[in-house]
Each structure stands twice: as structure tokens, then as C-alpha cells.
């Protein structure tokens, strides 16, 4: 069979693969391969993780809803919604979810030292109660276990009346077990099983309390649903897709305020939102790593091309055309990308398990297997990285003159003299790949464009800072040589001198390495030290006796008793605030609806009910920023004017201003008043505050519940247990526990971002390795000559240590500087607090960078000192 021309000829494949195999064995391609693997691994690790959430949303959305369609409301659903379902042949059921206190009941209430024969009540804890109707769930299934840590199994029943299924966390917090009794409101219920899985349950990021499942028939006996109770009413439906669609179509025009429909296509908006954020944040972190990896690819490819100049000249001598040269190396790169791609994808798949451990349970309880999409993305990244960044220097090998075999003609610069159209096209392809990757991770073209601009700006700033540092080092060295070094060591070959000279000699490579490490170190410092500083600063900003407990659902008829209770406990100063629920219906006589607003927060504010309250005096953590606080008139039927005081944040969100007339629907009646003041509220005082206030007396005619917040010392925790026992309908919210949960979420999210940024550090190491390799021959030669002239190995080791420690220290300085600046900006602009610069940030940055890069650099250049000088000189 004769050889044939072109890319597909067997001879080209053979030659190409043989060269690839031999170069790999010689260690020529390791940095290139690793850089491709890192780029693919970090993109696919994030990709697999977000894809699994997307798969859950796409293919398990029925299970995520527990139905094919769900109608949700913050009030009992009208009969029209529930009764008509049967007309469409749909199965239906309902659930009601709310938070309430649960108390463990002692085992031996007969023998127990209880008063008046009542049960011994243990600790009380806040729980997420879900009361479920028959046939729940309509899609998916519950799982229960006979005890904590026992194996669970699918169940198609519900807890019978009188029994409950409790989540393992609730049992742990209560110190209870299966078989114990629970006090829920005015009812005692038996714990029949451990609830391990509910199909429509949110991840732990979205719930602040552990779970309890009860039978809907037991709900009214608990007495927990009262005026002011926040209850989520849900009506679940399942059936034929057409029937579901018809029902939905018929219902939409009749939906009232506070009611919404979720189908399988738009199920779980909170999960979708969390997934989108995860994809954006983690995806961006991955893009930074990809960018650095592409730099490493370009540097490694440049060296690879440099080391094949003689080979190409020889091939040209023996008749290879420029196209053949291109084909030989192009094939090698394509094969390399198809080898590295799957390895990177496998690494990414394993790495995404780390993200699942850190974040998975926060967002969604069970994640299915991923689709193939991240695999294709990974392969595209591999191909794009190789073709966009490795191909350009390799393409220029076609210009190697055959004459090189006779003499080296301007050989060192042959790789970069002029850019051919093909080379420009390859670079363009690589840049397009990066741009598309950013847009893909952002999930939006406009946002992607903004992020790209931000990345570009950040790159320019980093480059400027790194250049400044390396320039500064050069001049510092200049003065050192003239002063200090001259006194310390007469020899021009002192370790310090040698080390720093190496750093400043190739300033471009040094700048690049300082940037590469600086980025990774900066993010790690930001996510660890600065994060800790900001959280501590924020916590310190709270006063020591800031309220740590909220109590809600106090009914008006319980006011006197509750006040009396607190007085008996020495807490007479606990203030109870009234709360009336009303829905904003008109602004200046014009009806308002969600559709008028684009901002999702505005939509939510219009859809849901407000908590209105009244106050005679302004609280100390409120300040009037516009208008005036109401003044009491001495005489007259109504001592106070009919006015509203609105919190400035929601005023801005809803575009409200002084003089606007707002109408609220309260218990079926309209109530209108004029906005007379806008207030700023210090929400992180954790005191009870309200978006909208009226003067006293305005809302007396409407049913109200009461809330309060206070500081409870740890030694008085049992007061709450007694309070809940006395008033079972009250809900106690532990702010410390919520803050701990928020801190946990922030910590997990930070760890997830740090996890992805580890790829950035590895990519930075690869950039350094590529830079070392590009200067290896020069270093080998120099050190061989120095040793031949009498330099000791110890001095050479020291010079290497100086060079790389200094490089790392410069990167650490850069990292600490930018981390401090970002910390300052976040503190002032976002958290509105003072930020104290932390000296440890600088110490850790300098030391971490210096030691980390120093060690890596010494290991990477050990060959330079260990190789026998004669061998090196003969070879070179």
C-alpha cells in the first residue's frame, strides 16, 4: 500500500505518534499535559456539580415538588382551587408547613416529679412542621428508619394520627428517640420513626430548623395555627400531562395575591437560584484557573517548539514540506488533547465529589448522576486550550529554515518573528474559547461581558502591580550591589546576588509568575484570613447584650400572661411589639401588582403580606432620614395623624416617596394612610423592627399578634422551655443558632470556592514549572560553568532558594495587598463597617508565598545543581 498525502497519511501518523511517545518518555510534554488536565478538571468539577443539580431539577422535578403541579399560598386556598381538581381527573392532596416549638416529653410521667400530674417536659426546639394529607407525596416517596443511624427504607404510608416522623437532627437536639413522646402545641404525639428523606424537602441552606412530619388530621388539635401564624399552604396535584396543563390554564386567571403555581418546569426556584449562583461563582473561579493553565500551555508549547527547531530543520532537509511539518505537530497536539481531556474529565468527576460534600446537602438533598454535557465541555476546553494556546508556537516551526542544520541562523528568535494568519487564527480561537467559557459560566451574555471586563481589568491591575514589584526589585538590587552587598561579600557570585539577578534578568517571566501565584494566594487569603476578619468584625459590631432570641405568635389574649411570665423571671423589660398582617393593594389609588416590577425582591414584597405595626416613639436603632416622625396632638378624637413611616430600603425597592398614599388590605378591609417619613433601620441590632409603622391607635380594630426579641444569658435557657410549656403556640427563634447556620453556610461556600481555587494554585505552579523549564538549559550551562570555576553546590542551592523565595514573597506581597484592599472595600461598601488591616495577612502572604514557591522552585531546579558539570558542558 503506497503512502498517501495529507494529514491522514499513515506515514505522518506513524511519525507523529512516534515523536509524541518519545517526547513523552523524555519528559518533554508533562507540563503541557498537566496544564490541559488542570484546565479540564477544574471546569468539569464545577460542571459536573451544577449539572447534577440541573439533572435533579430537569428529570426529578416531579419528585422535587412531590407532585406534577403545586399551588402554594400564604393563606388557606379557596375551594375553587381544591375542589375543581377532581373535575380534571387529577389526584390531589394538601400540606401545611410552618415553624413551631417542639418539646420532648419525659418517659415516666406517672412516677415523675411533675406538678399536677403533668408530663415532665424536656428541652424545646424549633422545628419545621409539615402536616400532610392522604396520598402525600403524589410523586416520589418518603423514607423512614426505625432508629437514628439505622438503614432506611421507602414507605408509601403516612404517620398515622397520633404519631409523628421526626428528622434525625431534631431527635438529636431533643435528646429523644423513636418511641418517645413529643409535645407539639397542645398535643402529645408519639415519635414512630426517623424521617430520613422527603422528596420535596429543601437543602439545609433553605431551612433553619430540623423536620417533623405529622398527619394533617392532627394539626387542628395542636392549636398552633392562629392569627399571625406564618403557614405555607400547598395543594399538590398529579395526573395526565394534558389534564395538568388544562387545570393550570384554568387556574392562572383566578390566582390571588400570595398564590402561585409551580410546575415541573419551574419547580423549586430557590434551588435554581442557588444552582445559578454556584455555577457563576464556582465557574468563575474555574475560569481563572483555566486562564492560568492556558498560560502554562502556551509557555510549555513554546519550549517544546524551541526544542524541536533542529528536528524541523532536519525534516526540511530530508524533504518535508511546511505543511507536513505542521501536520506532524498538529496531530501530536490533537492526540495529546484527546489523551489529556478524558484524564482531566475523570479528575474533574472525582473532584466534584468534594464539592458535593461541601455544598451538595446545602442545596438539594439527593443528587442524581450527571449528564454527558460536562464531558463535552471538558473535551472542548482541552481542544480549545491546545489549539488556541499550544498550536501558535508550534505552527511557527514551519518557518524553521533548513539552513539551520549548517549553522544556527538567528535561531533563538525563530519562534516569534512574525505571526502568520494561521497563528493569529489559532490565538483568536483560544481567546474565543475563553470568552465563551466565561459567558457559559455566567449563564448570561451581558453578565458574562461584565465579568470579562472585570477579569481584564483585574489582569491589568495585577500585571501593573507585579511589574512594579519586579522593577522595584531590580532597583533595590542595584542599590544593594552598590552598598550592602559590597560590604557583605566582595564576590560577585554571592548567593544573594546570583539569586536576585536571576529574578530580574527575565523580568517578563518573573512578572508572569508573580501574577500567577499572586492570584491564587490572594483568593486564599481573602477566603480565609479576610473572611474571618470580616465575620469577627461584624460580630464584634454587635453589642454584647444584643438580642439572641425572637418570640413570635404571641396572641393578643396572651399578652398579660406573657408579660407576667417575663416579670416573674426577672425580665420585666422585655417589650412586646404588635404585628398586623396586611397586603399592599394600591399606591396613590392605583392598584399594584407583581408584574409592574422587574426586581424580584419588589415582586416578593408586593405578593406577600406585610407585617405592619404601630409605635409611639422611634426606636433607638431607627432614624428618620426624610420627612418627620408623628407628633401627638393634645386634643382631638385622633391624637395622631393617619400616616405611615416606611423603611428606606423597601421605599427604594417599591419606588415609594414622601406623600404617597398606601392602601393595605387588612382582614378584608382597606386601610389607607400617607407616607410621612422614611426611616433607616439598623437591622443587625436584632431588635424587632418593621418595614411599615403607623402611629398608635390606627390599627386597633384589626387582629394582631405580638413579637419580641431579647437577650437571654446561656444559664437561663430553661426559661424558654417553661415559656413554651406554658404557651405551646409560641415560636422561639434562636438567633445565635441561625447566625451559626449562616456562618456554617458561609464557611462551606468559602471552602468550596477555595477548593476550586486550589486548581488555580496548581495552575500557578505549572506556570512556574514551565518558566523554569524554559530557562533550564541556560541555568544548567551557567551552573556547570560556575562549578567548574569553583563555586560550591551550597552556594548554588542558596542562590536558587533566594531566587524562588523572593519570587514567592513578591507574589505574597501582591496577594496580601489586593486581599487587604478587597477586604476594605467589602467592609465599607457591603457590610458598612470599619475594617482593620490585619498584619497577619501580610506575614502569611509573604511566608506562605515565599516558602511555597521557594520549595516548589528548588525542587523544580534541583537538576541544575545535581547534574555533573562535565556531563552538562559536553552535552551543551
Amino acid at each position: 500500500m503506497a503512502f498517501s498525502q495529507g494529514l491522514l497519511s499513515q506515514s505522518i501518523w506513524r511519525l507523529s505518534l512516534r515523536m509524541l511517545g518519545r517526547d513523552w518518555r523524555a519528559g518533554e510534554l508533562r507540563v503541557l499535559l498537566m496544564a490541559i488536565i488542570i484546565a479540564v478538571a477544574c471546569v468539569t468539577s464545577v460542571g459536573f456539580f451544577t449539572d447534577r443539580i440541573q439533572q435533579a431539577l430537569n428529570h426529578q422535578s416531579g419528585e422535587l415538588l412531590g407532585a406534577d403541579l403545586r399551588v402554594a399560598a400564604d393563606h388557606p386556598l379557596p375551594a375553587q382551587v381544591t375542589v375543581s381538581a377532581a373535575n380534571y381527573g387529577l389526584r390531589s392532596t394538601e400540606t401545611r408547613s410552618f415553624r413551631s416549638m417542639v418539646q420532648a416529653v419525659g418517659e415516666n410521667e406517672v412516677n415523675g416529679s411533675s406538678r399536677d400530674g403533668e408530663a415532665i417536659l424536656g428541652q424545646s426546639r424549633l422545628a419545621e412542621i409539615k402536616a400532610v394529607g392522604p396520598d402525600y407525596p403524589l410523586r416520589g416517596a418518603l423514607k423512614i428508619a426505625p432508629a437514628r443511624f439505622a438503614k432506611d427504607s421507602v414507605v408509601h404510608d403516612l404517620p398515622p394520627s397520633g404519631e409523628v416522623w421526626a428528622g434525625p437532627q431534631l431527635l438529636q437536639q431533643l435528646g429523644a428517640k423513636v418511641g418517645d413522646q413529643l409535645q407539639l402545641g397542645y398535643s402529645q404525639l408519639r415519635i414512630a420513626a426517623v424521617l430520613t428523606y422527603e422528596p420535596d424537602r429543601s437543602g439545609s441552606m433553605f431551612s433553619i430548623a430540623p423536620r417533623l412530619l405529622i398527619n394533617l388530621s392532627d394539626l387542628s388539635a395542636t392549636g398552633l395555627i392562629q392569627e399571625g401564624s406564618h403557614v405555607h399552604y400547598r395543594f399538590l396535584l398529579s395526573g395526565e400531562p394534558k389534564a395538568i396543563a388544562d387545570y393550570r390554564q384554568a387556574l392562572i386567571p383566578h390566582l390571588q395575591r400570595g398564590e402561585n403555581i409551580e410546575g415541573t418546569q419551574d419547580a423549586r426556584p430557590e434551588v435554581r437560584s442557588a444552582m445559578q449562583r454556584a455555577q457563576q461563582f464556582l465557574g468563575l473561579a474555574a475560569v481563572v484557573a483555566v486562564m492560568l493553565a492556558c498560560v502554562a500551555i502556551a509557555m510549555a508549547a513554546r519550549r517544546y517548539a524551541q526544542r524541536h527547531l533542529d528536528t524541523c530543520a532536519m525534516l526540511r532537509c530530508f524533504g518535508a514540506s511546511q505543511h507536513r511539518i505542521n501536520h506532524i505537530f498538529l496531530l501530536q497536539l490533537i492526540v495529546l488533547s484527546f489523551l489529556a481531556g478524558p484524564l482531566g474529565i475523570l479528575s474533574g468527576f472525582l473532584a466534584q465529589e468534594g464539592l458535593v460534600v461541601l455544598l451538595g446537602q446545602l442545596i438539594i438533598t439527593e443528587l442524581p448522576a450527571p449528564s454527558w454535557t460536562p464531558v463535552w465541555i471538558g473535551l472542548l476546553v482541552a481542544l480549545g486550550g491546545v489549539l488556541g494556546f499550544a498550536l501558535p508556537p508550534v505552527l511557527q516551526l514551519r518557518d524553521v529554515p533548513a539552513l539551520r542544520v549548517l549553522r544556527r541562523v538567528a535561531t533563538q528568535s525563530v519562534i516569534t518573528p512574525r505571526l502568520q494568519p494561521a497563528t493569529l487564527l489559532a490565538y483568536f480561537f483560544g481567546l474565543v474559547m475563553l470568552v465563551l467559557l466565561v459567558i457559559y459560566q455566567a449563564g448570561d451574555v451581558v453578565l458574562g461581558g461584565i465579568l470579562l471586563s472585570g477579569l481584564l481589568l483585574a489582569t491589568l491591575l495585577l500585571w501593573a502591580a507585579a511589574t512594579f514589584l519586579t522593577w522595584g526589585l531590580k532597583y533595590f538590587l542595584h542599590y544593594l550591589r552598590k552598598g550592602f552587598l559590597k560590604k557583605v561579600s566582595q564576590s560577585k557570585f554571592s548567593a544573594w546576588h546570583l539569586g536576585l539577578i536571576n529574578l530580574t534578568r527575565n523580568r517578563r517571566a518573573s512578572t508572569l509568575q508573580v501574577m500567577a501565584f499572586g492570584v491564587g494566594l490572594m483568593v486564599l487569603l481573602l477566603l480565609t484570613i479576610v473572611r474571618g476578619d470580616l465575620l469577627q468584625g461584624w460580630a464584634k459590631g454587635l453589642s454584647e447584650d444584643a438580642p439572641n432570641r425572637f418570640i413570635i405568635n404571641i396572641q393578643s389574649q396572651q399578652l398579660a400572661e406573657v408579660r407576667n411570665f417575663f416579670a416573674q423571671k426577672g425580665m420585666a423589660d422585655v417589650e412586646l411589639f404588635p404585628m398586623v398582617r396586611g397586603r399592599l393593594t394600591e399606591i396613590n389609588g392605583v392598584s399594584v401588582s407583581e408584574q409592574e416590577y422587574v426586581d424580584s425582591r419588589a415582586k416578593g414584597l408586593v405578593a406577600r403580606e406585610f407585617n405592619l405595626s404601630w409605635a409611639r416613639k422611634l426606636q433607638t436603632d431607627n432614624h428618620v432620614v426624610q420627612g418627620h416622625w408623628w407628633k401627638e396632638n393634645a386634643g382631638g378624637k385622633n391624637p395622631f395623624p393617619r400616616e405611615f413611616s416606611v423603611e428606606e430600603g423597601i421605599a427604594k425597592t417599591l419606588s415609594l416617596k414622601l406623600g404617597d398614599q398606601l392602601t393595605y388590605l387588612i382582614s378584608g378591609e382597606s386601610f389607607t394612610a400617607t407616607v410621612s417619613s422614611l426611616r433607616s433601620v439598623k437591622w443587625d441590632s436584632f431588635r424587632a423592627n418593621f418595614f411599615v409603622l403607623t402611629p398608635p391607635g390606627m390599627l386597633d380594630a384589626y387582629p394582631a399578634s405580638y413579637i419580641t426579641s431579647f437577650f437571654l444569658p446561656a444559664e437561663k435557657n430553661e426559661v424558654l422551655d417553661e415559656l413554651v410549656h406554658a404557651f405551646p403556640n409560641l415560636t422561639v427563634i434562636d438567633i445565635t443558632a441561625i447566625m451559626d447556620q449562616v456562618k456554617m453556610i458561609i464557611e462551606r461556600v468559602s471552602m468550596a470556592v477555595e477548593f476550586v481555587f486550589l486548581f488555580t494554585l496548581v495552575a500557578g505552579l505549572l506556570v512556574m514549572t514551565a518558566a523554569i523549564q524554559s530557562t533550564l538549559d541556560v541555568r544548567l550551562h551557567e551552573n556547570a560553568v560556575l562549578r567548574a570555576l569553583g563555586a560550591r553546590r551550597r552556594r548554588l542551592w542558596q542562590s536558587l532558594a533566594v531566587e524562588f523565595f523572593s519570587l514567592g514573597a513578591l507574589a505574597g506581597l501582591l496577594a496580601a495587598f489586593f486581599a487587604s484592599v478587597l477586604g476594605f472595600v467589602i467592609a465599607h461598601q457591603v457590610l458598612e463597617m470599619d475594617y482593620l488591616f490585619n498584619p497577619w495577612l501580610w506575614v502569611l502572604g509573604l511566608l506562605g508565598g515565599g516558602v511555597g514557591v521557594g520549595l516548589a522552585g528548588i525542587i523544580g531546579t534541583r537538576q541544575v545543581v545535581n547534574s555533573p558539570p562535565l556531563v552538562v558542558l559536553r552535552k551543551l
Partner: protein, 246 residues
Amino acid sequence: MSESVNQPILLVESLGKNVANHASRKHVLADDELAILHDIDLCIQHGDSVAIVGPSGSGKSTLLGLMAGLDVPTRGTVYLDGKNILQLNEDERAALRGEKIGFVFQSFQLLPSFTALENVMLPLELQENSGTYADARQQARQLLARVGLSEREHHYPSQLSGGEQQRVAIARAFVSKPALLFADEPTGNLDTHTGQQVIDFMFELNREQGTTLVLVTHDHVLANRCARVLELQNGRFCSASEVGQG
């Protein structure tokens, strides 16, 4: 190998080569160029063996590069087997080299990551229509055996001595049965005894295949083995002599 009875294998007419004078950093102006070769005329017939001698810097390697189509002259023409190589583009010159020319270099120029056998096969692999892979392998093995390196087929250049490497290079040069062989200081990096062995192999193969040999050397003993010796000084031929063959 195409032969025309009267057509020389290599014809050089008024060949000149200037290069930029790098010392002055102005390599654009004509009066700042350095003339390496001046008006070289040369005619080499099929089967000739020609040695070009001269001191270092006389322009020997430059002339060899121009004759082999590795470089482009400033003036004059080069006809290789009747083709004006200046009218060919770089790829056409490469194709011509692959078809007609073999090379032996002072620094051997073996690919370090290829075995001896693979280095010898390389010219055949680069050619189109030169037979199957198995044929190429067989031809390469035969030539390696011919230069006495059968047992070293699978050794890498780093595992071979200088003389052995040059023998591999000679086998590589002859594997494609070139019409013309250019050798640039083939014994420059070898000791006398080894160099002698290498030259013996080269001339033996040259006789067997009837290849035209053009040798650049400053070794007069080697030069005298060629039929003609041309002396180059300061970029010009200053003498020519007819000596014995082989």
C-alpha cells in the same frame, strides 16, 4: 535517478551571497552588507566526487547550503539536475531535496528520540510513493548492516559513539538512493581513525550507488580522495585540481 548524458547534476553560475553586517546593526543598507561568496561558477557531472576546501570563514558551508537549496543566493543561479532551484518555492525545494539529495553533517544531526533504525528510515517516511513501511524498514536495516551496525538498530544516538552516529547518518543519507550527496565536514567531530572508517563507508556506498558526492572539508587527506578539489578563499575559488577517485 534521472540522468542526462550532457546535463550536469549541479550547475552553479555567478553565485554570490551577501549577509547583513550585524556589527553595525544596520542590515538594511546595501553598503552595509558582508559578501560571503563572490561570483562562484561550478559544474558537477553525474557521478563526480568533488571536495571543496578552504580555511574557516572562506564560505564553504554557505556554498554548500546554496547548492543544496537550503538557502537562497543574493545573485546567480543554481541548477540541480536541470531545475533552477531559485524558481522553486521552499516546499518545492524541500521536495527536490527529498527526492535527489542526501546529507551528512559534521554534528551528525540524528534525531535524539529516534533509534538508529528509525533515523535511517526517516527520509523514506517523509517521501510520498516510496513503498510500504515494511519496505522502508527493510531498506534501512540493510543499510545499517552495510555500515556494520546491525546490532545497534534499536539504540538511541546517546547510546552510540561519535563514529557510530556518523555511520548511522551515512546510512540515512544513502537510504533514499539520492542522486547527490552533500557532506559538510563529515569527520570534523571524529578522531582520525574513526574518521577514516566513516569516510571509507561513505566512498564505498558512493561507488555502489553511483551518487555524486560534494564534500566540504578542511581535511586535505579526505579531499584528496575526491576526483576534484576546489579551494575556496574569501568567497572565491582560487584553485582547482584533479586528483584520484575514492
